[in-house]
Amino acid sequence: MTTEQILVGLASVLAAAAPVMFAVIGETISERAGVINLSMNGTILLSAMGGFAVAMTSDSLLLGFLGGMVIGALVALVVAFSSITLHQSQVAVGFVLAIICRDLAYFLGNPYVAQSGPRLNTAPVPGLAAVPYLGTLLFNQTLVTYLSFGVILLAWLWIYKTRPGLMLQGIGERPAAAFVRGTNVNAMRYLYTILGGAIIGLAGPSYSLSVKAGWMGTISGLDGIGWIALAITIFGGWNPLRAAFGAYLFALLQWLGLVLQSSLPNVPSQVLQVAPFPLMILTLLLVNIGNAEWVARTLAALPAGPRRVVTRLLRALRASPPAALGVPFESE
């Protein structure tokens, strides 16, 4: 492969990761506030179908994306209402929603299957696109991909650098402490769950109007993306930058699977297609392995030098979920 081919390939990885990125960042924001939005897989399908339908009928890409966000926000509202106000299990409600939304997408999307609709074009950034290497990699992308870069950075800035973002961490960590600091915990949880849902809702149209343009019903190949995004959220340790790394890693593995197919003719293609999934699981294991007692005991037996290196590595990888994730809050 030439350098140019590799660059174009990597650029396609960045583009292919954009929808997953929206899902992961949206989920990260929601879970930071303490609400698990498990409906993600269904939301992505429903917003992909809905976004495509809106864009096709109105002939407006913008409306298509907005439609996706509205769908995402509405599904998140159901999750928020049933868990925050009705005190129902977030896991049960989210799981059922995931299935309902998927089937709704297939059912309602029937008239739009294999129709031709609008598609987002690449928008090279004037000036920057001509920069060697970086131009091809970063600045010859669609608006959606640029937006995905922006969302990562904004989410990271918000959570770690702003005052409301600090409180967002606090709400997911210890709602009672946030409450005594004068925060309306449940209102904030509603807000962030719906905001996160709207961002997740961008994932669907990003597929159906850009990355995998069109709506193909049950063979769209989108089923399962939401669950992967959920795993990446955990891998990312609820930190947008780490989550972004996870999403890119996943897209890269998928791309490698395609590329290696031609150079490894002896390996069945199914192996390469499926490989990213167990690799993701393995990474997840590595992230949390530092918490296990037997690891600590094994480490203690190592000589001091290597032990320090391994311990530091494990600590850097380790991430703990927001302590109040999935726990309803009620002031007395």
């Binding site: 702003t162 005052r163 961490q169 005594v180 600091r181 302590a323």
Partner: protein, 500 residues
């Protein structure tokens, strides 16, 4: 700020937590609020800090009525509360905890906040590292962080709910100095406690709550007897040390070693006789917890030998030692001891291990009723354990124990309990000693150690003293040892008895 509470009423279901409470505290005063567990102190303070709403009543600040419906209202009015378990964010840094909740710009302005934090902390002699994570701080340091944080927010009334629970003696001294300084700065300090010595040593005036009513007031010089009578409605005395008659050696430890990733306890030799009480003293995390869990069979030992009544229990699990009459009551009652969400009957059914596939609910309820009466637990067979007060949870734990035990291991058996419950718990424990059960207990209360133990093991940073006769010790000497003073350079000369 001058604080006045008028006719505060609050009921939870059938429980009357506050009944018509009137209280007036002028600025610059340290007001003690004394009462046993469940007397309504915390409820009253949560009403003032906006954490809960009163059913009825008014709050006046500097003579003007204010409406406090949420903690946000309270902060705006200048009222801040330090909760018993500091309500902060453990996985976050000190500086982030500090700047949170202050309104204003989008960005926190950490640089300026850092300066303010240092200045405020220095004023009280607190050493707070802005970049440390809160979960690496002690409870005392977390309190210090809360104090400076509330002052930074502009609090002029500070409420302290049982602040001396779980902090070291040195930290208590520093806390009291800080409270006096606050009063000198004309702040109003409300100090909630069930510990007489704390209140007597600190407060300018005291009110006593009992079963939801404000039953009395006192000013210095206080007489302990009068305060106790107000708290309990009757006089109570702790009584003399009663050494138990001891029997044969039951538990024997030879060169016992145990360690975790940060602490090593090495070579403990001990022979405990039936009916003997051994107190384990030391600062929290000096190795007594490890030692206790090793003896219970919950932690693997790294060396040495444990035997009970001649039976080798080294390396056997807790299940095995339990079968041979060992019981362990951990400090965290709800996390390790009881099952939150289950009621008392269910606990007794679980603990009794009867045969048969189906549960004998009738029998379980009858047993629960019988034990509730015997152990004086305030609750019914259908009471959920998390709804019981700390003292009643501890009584329930004792009531759940098997009738005949050889060795009872207790961690902080009376932490957070009032005097009456403490005395009751120990009377029950001594009853067991009379039946030949040996007791090992961990406590941070020196008086309790000296009062109830026959011999004492002192832990300091993993080092363990030989067993010391409690009757020959006093709190000063014990306090020195706990703080690491007066330990011999070399190994302690063994003063073990012949049978060790």
């Amino acid at each position: 700020m001058d604080v006045e509470l008028r006719d505060i009423h609050k009921t939870f279901g059938k429980v009357r937590a506050n009944v018509g409470i009137r209280l007036h505290v002028p600025a610059g005063t340290i007001q003690g609020i004394l009462g046993e567990n469940g007397a309504g102190k915390s409820t009253l303070m949560k009403v003032l800090s906006g954490f809960i709403h009163a059913d009825q009543g008014a709050i006046l600040l500097d003579g003007r009525p204010v409406v406090i419906h949420s903690p946000a209202d309270a902060i705006r009015a200048g009222i801040g509360m330090l909760h018993q378990d500091p309500l902060d964010f453990p996985p976050m840094r000190v500086i982030d905890n500090f700047v949170m909740a202050r309104g204003g710009s989008l960005f926190p302005g950490r640089a300026a906040a850092r300066r303010d934090l240092k200045k405020l902390a220095a004023q009280f002699g607190f050493a707070l590292d802005p970049d440390a994570y809160v979960d690496s701080l002690t409870v005392g340091e977390r309190q210090q962080l809360e104090i400076v944080r509330l002052l930074w927010l502009g609090a002029r009334v500070l409420i302290f709910d049982e602040p001396t629970t779980g902090i070291s003696a040195a930290q208590k001294e520093r806390l009291f100095a800080a409270l006096r300084l606050l009063a000198d700065q004309d702040k109003t300090v409300l100090f909630v406690s069930h510990k007489l010595e704390d209140v007597e040593g600190l407060c300018d005036r005291v009110v006593v709550l009992r079963q939801g009513y404000l039953v009395g007031e006192a000013r210095p010089p206080y007489t302990t007897r009068q305060l106790v009578e107000m708290m309990f409605g009757k006089a109570i005395s702790i009584g003399k040390r009663v050494p138990c008659a001891v029997g044969e050696t039951s538990l024997r430890l030879r060169n016992l070693s145990v360690e975790d990733y940060r602490l090593k306890v090495r070579g403990v030799n001990l022979a405990v006789r039936a009916g003997e009480v051994i107190g384990l003293a030391g600062m929290e995390g000096s190795g007594q917890g490890l030692f206790m869990r090793a003896v219970a069979g919950l932690l693997r030992t790294t060396g040495g030998r444990i035997s009970l009544d001649g039976r080798n229990l080294t390396g056997r699990s807790h299940l095995v030692s339990k079968r041979h009459g060992v019981a362990f009551l951990p400090a965290s009652r709800l996390e390790e001891g009881l099952v939150p969400g289950l009621d008392l009957t269910e606990h007794f059914v679980l603990a009794e291990k009867k045969g048969g596939f189906f549960i004998d609910w009738e029998g379980g309820r009858a047993l629960a009723e019988e034990r509730i009466a015997e152990f004086n637990i305030r609750g019914t067979p259908a009471s959920h354990v998390e709804a019981l007060s700390g003292g009643n949870q501890q009584r329930a734990l004792l009531a759940l124990l098997r009738v005949s035990l050889r060795l009872l291991l207790l961690e902080h058996p009376t932490r957070g309990l009032d005097i009456e419950s403490t005395i009751y718990i120990w009377s029950k424990l001594k009853e067991r000693c009379g039946q030949g059960t040996s007791i090992l207990f961990v406590s941070s209360d020196l008086e309790e150690i000296l009062q109830y133990s026959d011999r004492v093991l002192v832990f300091f940073n993993g080092r363990v003293s030989p067993p010391l006769e409690a009757a020959e010790m006093n709190t000063d000497r014990l306090g020195e040892l706990i703080g690491g003073k007066g330990w011999p350079e070399e190994e302690w000369v063994e003063e073990m008895t012949a049978d060790g």
